[in-house]
C-alpha cells in the first residue's frame, strides 16, 4: 500500500504558494498524497491534534461564502496546531470599499504564516500572493483553479483504486465555469490518468481539446470504460444565462443516474465536489449509494489532504529563513 511509503516528515515544496496545480511537480504531488495518507488515520483517533504548526497563524480569507472548504481548512489548521482566524468578507473592510490589495497589505501587517484565499475572480489569489510575504493557498479563484480540491480528489481516488496512473476518469457537467475541473485536469493528467471531459458544447471550452484530454458531448458514450466519474455542480444561473435549455434536458442528457452509471465500468466510483444539485446533475440514488459514491469520503479526506499541504508550505518556508 501507498501508506507504507509515506514520508515521516513534512514534504518540501519548491514554491512558496499553492496557487495552481502547475506549482507542483509530479514528485511533489505524489509526496503530498503520501503524506496525507499518514494523517488520514488521525482523523478517527480520539485525540486528533498534532503540534507541527504550533505558534503558526493561518488566516482563512473567503470573499465567497463556502461551508465545506473553509471548515476543512480550519479543521486542518487546528489539527496541525496552528492558530486559525476566519475572515468573512461581508463583515470585513472589503465591504467598506477597501481593494483587494489594501486588504493584502493589512493582512500582511499581521504577519500570518499561511493565507487561504477564495475569491470570485480568476487570478485574485495570484494577485494577493504578490503582495504578501506569507504562503498563499488558493482555495478557489473564479473559474481558474482550486488545487487542494484536486489533491483531495486524487487522494480519494488513489485510496479507493490503489492507483491513479492508467485509470480513465470522466469529469462531467459544467467544465467551462469550473475551477475544480481545471485543477483536476492538470493534476490527474500529471499523475498519468486518462481524463475525459463530458458536457454540452456550451459548457465545455472548445479549446480544452488541447489540454491533453478527450472531450465527449455524449455522456452515454463518454462514460464507457470509465473507472471514476467526477460530477460537477451546475450553477443554476447557467440556465438563466441561456447556456442550456432546461433542467430536465440537462438531467436527461448529462445527469448521472443509475442507467448512465451502468455504462461505465462495473466497479466505477462516483465523486462530486459539492454542494450537489440533486436531480440536476446527479440522481439521489447514485449520490447516496455507499457502494459507488465517494462523496462523503471526499469531505473526510479533504482534511487530511489539507493538513499535508499546510504542513508542507509552512515547513518548506522556514528552512530558508531565519526565525524571529
Amino acid at each position: 500500500m501507498t501508506s507504507a511509503a509515506a514520508p515521516d516528515s513534512a514534504v518540501r515544496l519548491s514554491r512558496r504558494d499553492l496557487l495552481a496545480i502547475d506549482d507542483l511537480t509530479r514528485a511533489e504531488a505524489i509526496a503530498l498524497l503520501d503524506r496525507a495518507e499518514r494523517f488520514a488515520p488521525l482523523l478517527s483517533a480520539s485525540v486528533k491534534k498534532l503540534d507541527t504548526l504550533r505558534g503558526r497563524t493561518l488566516i482563512n480569507l473567503f470573499f465567497e461564502t463556502s461551508t465545506r472548504t473553509q471548515s476543512s481548512f480550519e479543521l486542518a489548521g487546528k489539527r496541525m496546531g496552528a492558530d486559525v482566524v476566519n475572515m468573512a468578507v461581508r463583515t470585513s473592510a472589503m465591504a467598506k470599499g477597501e481593494t483587494l490589495i489594501d486588504t493584502a497589505a493589512t493582512l500582511n501587517a499581521m504577519s500570518p504564516d499561511l493565507l487561504v484565499v477564495r475569491h470570485a475572480s480568476s487570478g485574485a489569489a495570484a494577485l494577493l500572493a504578490r503582495k504578501v510575504s506569507c504562503s498563499v493557498i488558493n482555495a478557489g479563484d473564479g473559474q481558474h483553479e482550486h488545487p487542494t480540491q484536486a489533491l483531495l480528489d486524487a487522494f480519494t481516488i488513489r485510496r479507493e483504486k490503489g492507483r491513479i496512473e492508467g485509470l480513465t476518469i470522466a469529469i462531467c457537467g459544467d467544465i467551462a465555469h469550473s475551477r475544480v475541473a481545471r485543477s483536476n485536469v492538470r493534476l490527474l493528467t500529471l499523475l498519468g490518468a486518462r481524463v475525459r471531459l463530458i458536457g454540452p458544447p456550451t459548457l465545455v471550452p472548445a479549446s480544452a481539446a488541447r489540454w491533453g484530454v478527450e472531450i465527449s458531448h455524449d455522456m452515454r458514450r463518454g462514460l464507457e470504460a470509465c473507472d471514476v466519474i467526477m460530477m460537477l455542480r451546475l450553477q443554476l444561473e447557467r440556465m438563466q444565462g441561456g447556456l442550456i435549455p432546461s433542467q430536465r434536458e440537462f438531467f436527461w442528457f448529462y445527469g448521472l443516474d443509475e442507467d448512465k452509471l451502468r455504462l461505465a465500468k462495473p466497479d466505477a466510483l462516483v465523486m462530486h465536489p459539492g454542494p450537489m444539485n440533486r436531480g440536476v446533475e446527479i440522481d439521489s440514488r447514485v449520490a447516496d449509494d455507499p457502494r459507488v459514491s465517494l462523496i462523503e469520503k471526499q469531505v473526510r479526506n479533504g482534511v487530511a489532504m489539507r493538513m499535508a499541504v499546510l504542513e508542507a508550505l509552512a515547513c518548506s518556508r522556514t528552512t530558508g529563513e531565519t526565525e524571529p
Binding site: P201, T202, G242, W252
Partner: protein
C-alpha cells in the same frame, strides 16, 4: 407481396448519377425499393406500369413548408398540404415551426408527427423552433426535441438578432449533430421593406429590402458556424453576393449549406411590376443578375438545396395594397416545374438540379430517402419532363391558391407519386401507357 414494376422508364438517380433507360420494382406493402437498373427483377404478379419513357426519380424532399395546422387551418392543413405535395411530387416535407402554438415543445413535435401521419400519406416532419416561442431569447430543448423527432431547428421567419443567443444555440446543437436552419435577414434593415431595393422599387415608390440585409446576417451566421462547428443551413438566400460568401466559407471547411427557393430561381423583381402582390415574397424577388448567380451557385454546388418556400396566404392577406399585403406563396405544386425552368433553359443539368431536391436535402436530414437504391424507401415519382402547361393558380390543390407563377408557361408534370410504395397521386393524364398484371 404486392409489388409494382415500372418499365420503359428513364431512370434518374442523383445518388448514383445514373440517367438512362431502365426499370424499377418496389414492394408496395413493405414500402421499399426491390430492384432498379436497365432491367429490374420484379416478383411474379407485380403490377406492371409502362412509364412511356418518362422519368422516374426519387420523390422530392422539401425542407421549407409552412402549414397552418395547428392554429391557422384556414391557410393550410396537413390534409391540404399533403394533397398539394403529392401532386407536386413532394414525398417528404419539413414543416416550419411558426404555427400557433409554436412547435417549441416535445408535445407539439409529437402532435405533428401523429396528426400528419393520420391525415396524409406524404411524410411530414416538423422542424422545431430554435428559440422558445421563436422569440430569439432562449434556446429550446434541442436534445429532447431531436429525440422526439424534430427534423431540424429553425427560427422560421423570425431571424435571431442576438448573436450570443445564436452562438449558444448553434454550439449546443452540435452535441446532437442537429441541423440549424437560419434565415439571414437583418432584423433592423429588412422590416418595412416590400420588395428588392433598387431602381424599380424607387420608381414604384415602394420601400425596399437591400441585399445588405441578407449579407450582414449571413456574414455573422457563417462566422458563428465556423466558431461553433455547427451544421448551418442558410435558409433561402436571394442575392449574388451571398453565393460568393458561401463559396468562401465552404472552401474554408465551414459546415454551411444553403437553400434557395424555387421562386428566386425562376422569377425576378420585374414580376412584382404592376404591384402584383402574389409575387410579394420574403426574401423579395431580386434582380436578374441575382437570379442568374443563384442558378450558377446551384450548378456549382455552392447552393445545396432547392425549397418550395411554400407559405400559402388566403386571398384576404393578398388583396391589399402592395406594402400591406402579406409575403408568401403556395409553392408545393410548382416546385418541380419552377425548378425545371433552369434545366429547360439549359442553365443546369438534370442530375444536379434533381439532387438539390432529393438526395441533398435527404442527406442533410440524415434520411434514407432521396435515392433509388434497393432497400431504400419506395418514395418515387414519375414525371413527364417536357409536358407544357400554363399555370392556373385556381387549379392548385393547396388551400390558398396564390402563386407568383400564375399564368406562366411551364414544363414538367408529375404523373404519379409513390410514398412508401403507396400511390399518393396519379395525374388524370397518366393513364396513357399500358397498365396491368405482369
Amino acid at each position: 407481396m404486392s409489388a409494382v414494376h415500372i418499365v420503359n422508364a428513364r431512370i434518374v438517380d442523383p445518388a448514383t448519377a445514373f440517367d438512362g433507360p431502365g426499370e424499377i420494382a418496389f414492394d408496395a406493402g413493405a414500402g421499399v425499393i426491390l430492384s432498379v437498373g436497365s432491367k429490374a427483377k420484379a416478383p411474379r404478379g407485380a403490377i406492371v406500369i409502362d412509364a412511356g419513357e418518362h422519368m422516374v426519380c426519387p420523390g422530392l424532399v422539401d425542407l421549407r413548408v409552412v402549414i397552418g395546422e395547428p392554429g391557422a387551418e384556414s391557410r393550410e392543413t396537413f390534409k391540404s398540404a399533403g394533397r398539394a405535395a403529392a401532386a407536386g411530387g413532394v414525398t417528404t416535407l419539413v414543416q416550419m415551426p411558426n404555427t400557433d402554438p409554436v412547435i417549441d415543445d416535445v408535445s407539439l413535435v409529437d402532435f405533428v408527427l401523429r396528426r400528419a401521419e393520420a391525415r396524409t400519406e406524404v411524410r411530414i416532419l416538423p422542424a422545431a423552433a430554435l428559440t422558445r416561442g421563436l422569440k430569439g431569447e432562449a434556446m429550446t430543448e434541442i436534445g429532447l426535441l431531436a429525440e422526439a423527432g424534430a427534423a431540424m431547428f429553425t427560427n422560421a421567419d423570425a431571424p435571431i438578432a442576438d448573436s450570443r443567443v445564436m452562438r449558444r444555440a448553434m454550439s449546443y446543437a452540435t452535441a446532437f449533430d442537429a441541423l440549424v436552419a437560419h434565415r439571414p435577414e437583418d432584423p433592423t434593415l429588412a422590416p418595412g421593406g416590400a420588395m428588392h431595393e433598387g431602381e424599380l422599387a424607387a420608381r414604384m415608390g415602394l420601400p425596399g429590402v437591400p441585399c445588405a440585409a441578407e449579407t450582414i446576417m449571413l456574414g455573422r451566421d457563417l462566422a458563428l458556424a465556423e466558431l461553433t462547428g455547427a451544421r448551418l443551413l442558410v435558409d433561402m438566400i436571394s442575392c449574388a453576393e451571398s453565393v460568393s460568401m458561401l463559396a468562401r466559407a465552404k472552401s474554408k471547411g465551414v459546415k454551411a449549406y444553403a437553400s434557395v427557393s424555387v421562386h428566386h430561381l425562376g422569377l425576378n423583381e420585374m414580376d412584382v411590376a404592376g404591384y402584383r402582390t402574389f409575387a410579394k415574397l420574403s426574401p423579395p424577388l431580386r434582380s436578374e443578375a441575382d437570379r442568374l448567380a443563384l442558378i450558377a451557385g446551384l450548378a456549382e454546388g455552392v447552393i445545396d438545396v432547392i425549397v418550395s418556400g411554400h407559405d400559402p396566404r388566403p386571398a384576404e392577406d393578398k388583396r391589399l395594397p402592395f406594402d400591406e399585403a402579406a409575403p408568401g406563396a403556395a409553392a408545393l405544386e410548382t416546385l418541380l416545374p419552377g425548378a425545371l425552368m433552369a434545366y429547360h433553359a439549359e442553365m443546369i443539368g438534370l442530375l444536379p438540379l434533381l439532387s438539390a431536391m432529393t438526395l441533398k436535402p435527404a442527406e442533410l436530414l440524415g434520411l434514407p430517402q432521396g435515392r433509388l437504391a434497393p432497400g431504400a424507401p419506395a418514395d418515387l415519382i414519375l414525371v413527364d419532363l417536357g409536358a407544357p402547361f400554363r399555370l392556373d393558380a385556381d387549379k392548385l390543390l393547396s388551400k390558398s391558391r396564390n402563386s407568383p407563377f400564375d399564368g406562366k408557361l411551364m414544363q414538367g408534370r408529375v404523373l404519379r407519386t409513390y410514398v412508401g410504395g403507396a400511390e399518393a397521386y396519379v395525374a388524370s393524364s397518366a393513364h396513357t401507357g399500358r397498365e396491368g398484371l405482369g
